[in-house]
Every structure is written in structure tokens, then in C-alpha cells.
């Protein structure tokens, strides 16, 4: 497979910052927002976002992490399952605006599972979605509210997100076959 860089380290930083500002713009009264990162890379992005908001707003926005493995529909569909990791929502979700953060929005199934998971913790006022890359090809009627980069892809292609916290570098690449 060939590789094409979609976002450099600098691009990635700018995109994240823009998402932060859009979130703040959208939620004037940001007393009730909470950020929830979807494991694994959504957790790191979410943490970056929440730290930037905290610096700008000089407060402590609640932050949690979500492992959606237990909510996936894959178990019945014979797809390989990832390892189960811990979920940690250390705040009350009742009446909050929950902003889910993930790295790539693709079929929408992960987000569907994440919504189910959040709802099991209580009844938030609303749930919004922030993603670094939206690659289209949705299988469910789900859309993101904050998007770093929108790109049209075909299903044979792959988007790989590298984040310093796990991968030693910040970068987003597209993997594709010849001819496409």
C-alpha cells in the first residue's frame, strides 16, 4: 500500500486548536460541558482538547474515557474484538453536554456504541461529537459536530492516525492501493 500524509504534526495541532475554539464558541455557557474520549486515540485527543479549554477558560472541565468494546455489535457479527480496556467517567452525566472525541469517523458504529454507553451513565442534555478526521462511508445516520479534516475515501483505503502519546509522533496518513 502507498502512503500519503494528510496531516502533519503542525496541521494536527492547528486542527485540534480549531476544534477547541469551535466547541467554546458553540457552548457560551460552558459550565455544563464535559469531554469524553473514546479509547484509545480518542482519549489522547480528548485530553489535549480538555487541557486547551482549561488553559483558555482557566477552569477544570470534567473529562472521562470510554471503552466501547462492551457496546459493540461485533460480538454477534463475528468481527475480531479488541482487548477490553477500562472506562472511567468520574462525573455525573445528568444534564451535561457531553462531547465525545474520537480520531476517525467512519461507519458510525463506534459512535453509536459510545452513545449507548454514555446513556447508561445517565441522561445528558445533549451529546456532541468531535473527530479529527471524517472519512465518510457511514453505515448509520450519524454526523460529527466538530471535524478537523473531511476527506472522501473508499473502503479499501485506510486512515492511520499517529499520536505522540502512543505512537511517538503526530501525523495522519492515508494508505491506498495503486490506481485509486
Amino acid at each position: 500500500m502507498k502512503e500519503k500524509t494528510l496531516l502533519s504534526s503542525k496541521d494536527l495541532e492547528r486542527k485540534t486548536t480549531r476544534i477547541v475554539h469551535e466547541i467554546l464558541e458553540d457552548n457560551n455557557d460552558n459550565n455544563d460541558i464535559a469531554i469524553v474520549g473514546i479509547k484509545t486515540r480518542g482519549e489522547y485527543l480528548g485530553r489535549r482538547i480538555v487541557e486547551e479549554i482549561n488553559t483558555i477558560e482557566k477552569k477544570e472541565i470534567p473529562f472521562g474515557t470510554l471503552d466501547i468494546t462492551l457496546y459493540r455489535d461485533d460480538l454477534r457479527n463475528n468481527l475480531a474484538l479488541p482487548e477490553l480496556k477500562e472506562t472511567n467517567i468520574p462525573f455525573n452525566v445528568e444534564n451535561k453536554t457531553i462531547i465525545l472525541v474520537d480520531d476517525v469517523l467512519f461507519t458510525g458504529r463506534t459512535i453509536r456504541a459510545a452513545i449507548d454507553a454514555v446513556m447508561d451513565f445517565g441522561r445528558p442534555a445533549n451529546i456532541k461529537l468531535a473527530v479529527l478526521v471524517d472519512r465518510g462511508l457511514r453505515e448509520l445516520p450519524i454526523q460529527a459536530d466538530y471535524i478537523g479534516l473531511s476527506i472522501e475515501t473508499v473502503s479499501s483505503q485506510k486512515i492511520k492516525v499517529f499520536l505522540k502519546e502512543k505512537d511517538k509522533k503526530d501525523k495522519v496518513v492515508l494508505l491506498y492501493n495503486n490506481g485509486i
Binding site: 471503552d67 468494546t69 462492551l70 457496546y71 459493540r72 461485533d74 460480538l75 454477534r76 457479527n77 463475528n78 468481527l79 475480531a80 474484538l81 482487548e83 477490553l84 480496556k85 477500562e86 472506562t87 472511567n88 449507548d116 454507553a117 447508561d120 451513565f121 445517565g122
Partner: protein, 310 residues
């Protein structure tokens, strides 16, 4: 790490890494059980059969809650011991359950090795909930989970198992699990209940409780199993309890921060005095709570094996 087992039948066949993988998965499950909403949809549409050929309240309830928290469809199938001998063969039962769509069968059986018969005869995954005097993996895993939670580790701990080792599946599973995870095991009980055959590297046999208690980090008390004819092996409950019962007095010999465990149900005044059972160092109720998380992990991992391999 991918869990590579269709069945969980014994601790003996699991590697240390596999045991730790189950314990780690159980930690995530414990988070689920601490939520207000304790149910996740993971096993929705998957049929789990609880096939119990032996009376059991605790283990069965614990598995049942675990299954419910994972949203499985549950079929309870209880049968008395006599019908095992007279009625339908286990292999026919297995085939029937499979025809009903059972994906996972949790089996408790009075005869050692019965889960193997089942595993040979059905494509469902088998989880052993205790077979005869052989193994009780879910109990051992929850014991290991609890020890790790309280002590922060298992390696190099001195763990003492007290009582009817000969007839205990809990002891066999725990000896296997503790040795694999690097603990040192001491066994103590009447000579007729602690055969020499248990001796192996890492295991020491004692007949004197006071001597055995020296330098111990964890004590696992075994139930005096009246139903397993313990009384053929010692003269009376009274004498047993005098020599092998845990009391406030002999407990002082162990380390100060010793952890006291018991698979339940306790015979108060036999295996231990009420004072010991209710001591702050006793984690007997924590074991019960952890049992659910551990069983959720066992169910989840076998189900995920099925989803990855079938």
C-alpha cells in the same frame, strides 16, 4: 492479547499470561458493576446455559448476575445428582442444549472431568463452575483477583490454604493459579485430608496450623464439606475445629496485615470464629463482589473467542 480459548475448564491449562489477561478484563468489568446502571449489551442475543448438576446457590447466582449484566439470554438447567447416573447421558444433554441454541454452557457437576465430556460432545463453549474434586476456576480467579486487589501483587506472597485439601476443587485450582503467578503455597490440615501427592516445588505441607501460620500473607480457609464426606477423614467437627479452626488467638501468628479469605458459605465456629470472619482483614464479602466481575470476564472472553473464531 487475544484470548485463545474456546473453553475455560481448568486453571491447570491456563498460562500465567492468560490468567492475568482474565484478571485485567475483570478489572474493566468491575468498573461496569460499580455503575448505577450495571448492565451492558455485550452478550445480547447470546444464549448462556447454567447447567447445574449439584446444588449451588452462590456460584450459580454469581454466574447468573454476571450473565444478566452482560445482557445474555439465560437458560437454567438444574438436575439432581441421581439423574446424572440414571437419566439422560451428559453427551445427550449437551447435544440437546446445543440444539436449543446454547453458545456458552456453564457447568457444575459432582464428577471430576465432566466438563471435558461436555466439551467433546458440543460446539458450545464450556465454562467450568466446579467439577467434582477437580477444579473450580472461577473461584480461584476471583481469589487471585481479590489478592491482587488487596496486596497489589501475587508474586512471592505466602499463601496458606487450610482444611480439606484432598476433596477441594477450590484448593486444586488455587494451588495451580498461585504457583503460576509466582506465589508460595502452604497447605495445612489433618493428614488424612492433605496427601503428600500435593508436594511439588513451591508447595509445603503442614499438619500443624500454628506452625503453618508463620509469615503468612494470605489465608484461604476451605469449607468443611459435610456433603463430601469429610467426616470419614476426621473424628468430629469439634476436634477439627480445635486443631484447624482460625481464631483471634492463632491469627496473631500470621503477618499483621494478613488477608483472610473463604469461598463461602462459612460454617461459623468451625473453620473460623465469628471474630475472625468479621475481622477488618477478612475480605470474604469483597470476594463475592469480585466474583461477579471475574465471571463476566470469563463469559466475555469465551464469547469473544467465539466471535473471532467461528
Amino acid at each position: 492479547m487475544e484470548f485463545k480459548r474456546k473453553n475455560i475448564i481448568s486453571i491447570a491449562e491456563l498460562s500465567a499470561d492468560e490468567i492475568l489477561h482474565i484478571l485485567d478484563t475483570a478489572s474493566s468489568m468491575k468498573e461496569v458493576t460499580s455503575r448505577n446502571m450495571k448492565k451492558v449489551p455485550t452478550l445480547k442475543g447470546i444464549t448462556v446455559v447454567n447447567l447445574f448438576f449439584e446444588p449451588s446457590t452462590r456460584t450459580r447466582s454469581s454466574f447468573e448476575i454476571a450473565e444478566k449484566r452482560l445482557s445474555a439470554d439465560i437458560l437454567n438447567f438444574t438436575s439432581s445428582q441421581s439423574s446424572v447416573v440414571k437419566g439422560e447421558s451428559l453427551s445427550d444433554t449437551a447435544k440437546n442444549l446445543e440444539s436449543m441454541g446454547a453458545s456458552i454452557i456453564v457447568i457444575r457437576h459432582p464428577m471430576s472431568g465432566a466438563p471435558w465430556v461436555l466439551a467433546r460432545e458440543t460446539s458450545a463453549s464450556i465454562i467450568n463452575a466446579g467439577d467434582g474434586r477437580h477444579e473450580h476456576p472461577s473461584q480461584s480467579l476471583l481469589d487471585l483477583f481479590t489478592i491482587r486487589q488487596v496486596k497489589g501483587k501475587i508474586e512471592n506472597l505466602n499463601v496458606l490454604i487450610v482444611g480439606d485439601i484432598l476433596n477441594s476443587r477450590v484448593a486444586r485450582s488455587n494451588i495451580n493459579g498461585l504457583l503460576k503467578l509466582g506465589a508460595k503455597v502452604k497447605l495445612v490440615g489433618p493428614g488424612s485430608l492433605v496427601p503428600d501427592y500435593f508436594e511439588q516445588p513451591g508447595v509445603k505441607i503442614f499438619y500443624n496450623l500454628e506452625k503453618a501460620l508463620e509469615d503468612v500473607d494470605v489465608i484461604i480457609m476451605l469449607r468443611v464439606q459435610k456433603e463430601r464426606k469429610s467426616l470419614e477423614y476426621f473424628p468430629s467437627i469439634r476436634e477439627y475445629s480445635r486443631f484447624y479452626g482460625l481464631t483471634g488467638e492463632n491469627l496473631k501468628i500470621a503477618k499483621n496485615d494478613v488477608t483472610i479469605m473463604h469461598p463461602g458459605p462459612i460454617n461459623r465456629g468451625v473453620e473460623m470464629t465469628s471474630e475472625v470472619a468479621d475481622d477488618s482483614r477478612s475480605v470474604i464479602l469483597e470476594q463475592v463482589t469480585n466474583g461477579i466481575a471475574v465471571r463476566m470476564a470469563m463469559l466475555y472472553l469465551t464469547a469473544s473467542w467465539r466471535s473471532n473464531n467461528l
